[in-house]
Subunit: 358 residues, 2 copies
Amino acid sequence: MTAYRSIEWRQGVLRLLDQRLLPQQTEYLDFIHYQEVAIAIQDMVIRGAPAIGAAAAYGLALAAIHSDAKDLSTLRGELETAAGILQAARPTAVNLVWAIKRVFDRLSDPKLVTIPMLQEATISEANKIAEEDIWVCKQIGLNALPFVPPVATVIHHCNTGSLATVDYGTALGIIRTAHEHGRKIEVLVDETRPRLQGARLTAWELSQLGIPHTVIVDGASGHFMRTRHIDFCVVGCDRVAANGDTANKIGTYNLAIVAHAHGVPFYVAAPTSTIDMTQENGDTIPIEERPSAEVEMIGDHQITPTGVRVANPAFDVTPAKFITAIITEKGVAFPPFSQSLAEIMKGSSPKNQSSHPG
Amino acid sequence: MTAYRSIEWRQGVLRLLDQRLLPQQTEYLDFIHYQEVAIAIQDMVIRGAPAIGAAAAYGLALAAIHSDAKDLSTLRGELETAAGILQAARPTAVNLVWAIKRVFDRLSDPKLVTIPMLQEATISEANKIAEEDIWVCKQIGLNALPFVPPVATVIHHCNTGSLATVDYGTALGIIRTAHEHGRKIEVLVDETRPRLQGARLTAWELSQLGIPHTVIVDGASGHFMRTRHIDFCVVGCDRVAANGDTANKIGTYNLAIVAHAHGVPFYVAAPTSTIDMTQENGDTIPIEERPSAEVEMIGDHQITPTGVRVANPAFDVTPAKFITAIITEKGVAFPPFSQSLAEIMKGSSPKNQSSHPG
């Protein structure tokens, strides 16, 4: 485990590492009100699909334990309200919806007949989501291990490490597992405009882990694929549709196309909590448009001329045809993903599939 | 003409607009010593292949007129030294070499037998290069006009406008000509990391010209090609090889691949001064590696963790197969470029070619 945890539950207080200030400052914020957790998710104090899922579950735990409700149905009503607010914080990652649904599934247990029981169940389910997330990440890392050659140079986009999850990481977890298993892995780190999660967070995490890495601008990935050997690209995801179309941080789609043009395998690390079988394909995944200031300003430094128009979609959708494999904690899905993801989501591992990464 | 000129010759003084400070400050720097012009080119006070070509020619003019040489051969020796220093300022754009060669071709005239005659010829050739550049840009704009539909949305990378040239611009000149000819043209402006020439300079120029535009991060181009209609991409270039392979600002190659994947035409605006027939293909074009601070810092704001490794190639090479057409002042070259560029460089326009942009 790394020295810093993105998210911690401390006896009724949710503690989040403020990722907006990294790597220059490591500052923790404590939360008692779920409304402030929703704002923190929106403002990206915490980000990364698995991490915001866990944060939302703990947001419900805060709502439950700090409630003044005198009866069960009032408390349940308050939790419904909290769920609505937390879920609306960010639209693209399905993990918010998934985590909240998991808590409510648990709360539907008819044996929960007192307020303390309901409170206890909420906390317990949030803890379970958080603990499972670490196991899920490690399992994804192990499932990906066969795809990592003994010496590998890879390109990674955004941040998908300990900070983006409860701990360990998804795509960065794959890199970390490979490193821990003796692979000589080197990472070209897409800086990931506009919020620079790669340059700020991924570089910081890789430094702590002692994994060799070099930061590049997002537009340089093709140059490096053309001029040196890149073994694969690996990214996380915010929502995977039933056909394998994958929403992830803006810039992922460009990277996938460029990898495809060079015959470089493109892997998506996807906890099953991020797979949304209700979306037939990626066209219906909502894409969050974030404030233009994220592009216009860096720190206090204004880049663009005053008044210029900016478009700032936070995510893009990579069509399944550009994806070599989707690596989940329950197994690896190969094309055709409609079939392989369905099998994984049924719980059966599609290990015996014949298709292989290119 | 726009209100600001990137480069002006004022009776023995070279005046450059300091593009590092735009759009927040418009400040001019005056130069008397050619050595300082070389540093200004290196530090990107002035940038853009055509603009640095003209600046180098004026650098020679400064060397000539501020020389203390008492005889012709001493002066010629000093000019050779100056040429070496100016030419070494930036390695990728061929325009430095081209402009210096043009001045020396002029100086080879045996009729230049006095120091004042040599000085006069140097200034006169530099002025000619500068004046011709404006004509060249306008002609490129006119030659591209048939490719611009009445209503067009285009993606542009880096800055190729008045600031990158003596005036008017190459790829932005195409956009400007289209606008002036009544095309309803809208520009998605790649911000162009690391130096943000798009967000800072192109947005500023398009604002002054009244051309609708929206700044996007470089990684978002695929998202927009997938979700709305893009008519074409258009970029400038720093060096075009004989087979059409094109060196241009880092990120150009990714944009070209992404355009290709979407069937979006990809046009390169290339003054013939940027076409280097001595390079068989793009593999031998030298790619400048610039200081890592360009990626690590924005203004005074440090992005990356201290000590992180950064790779910062300033340019990439787009193989000819991703280019729909190369638009020069002497005509439009279509694939196969080995043939069409050779015809253009011989002076004969390849207008009657059968191939057409995709």
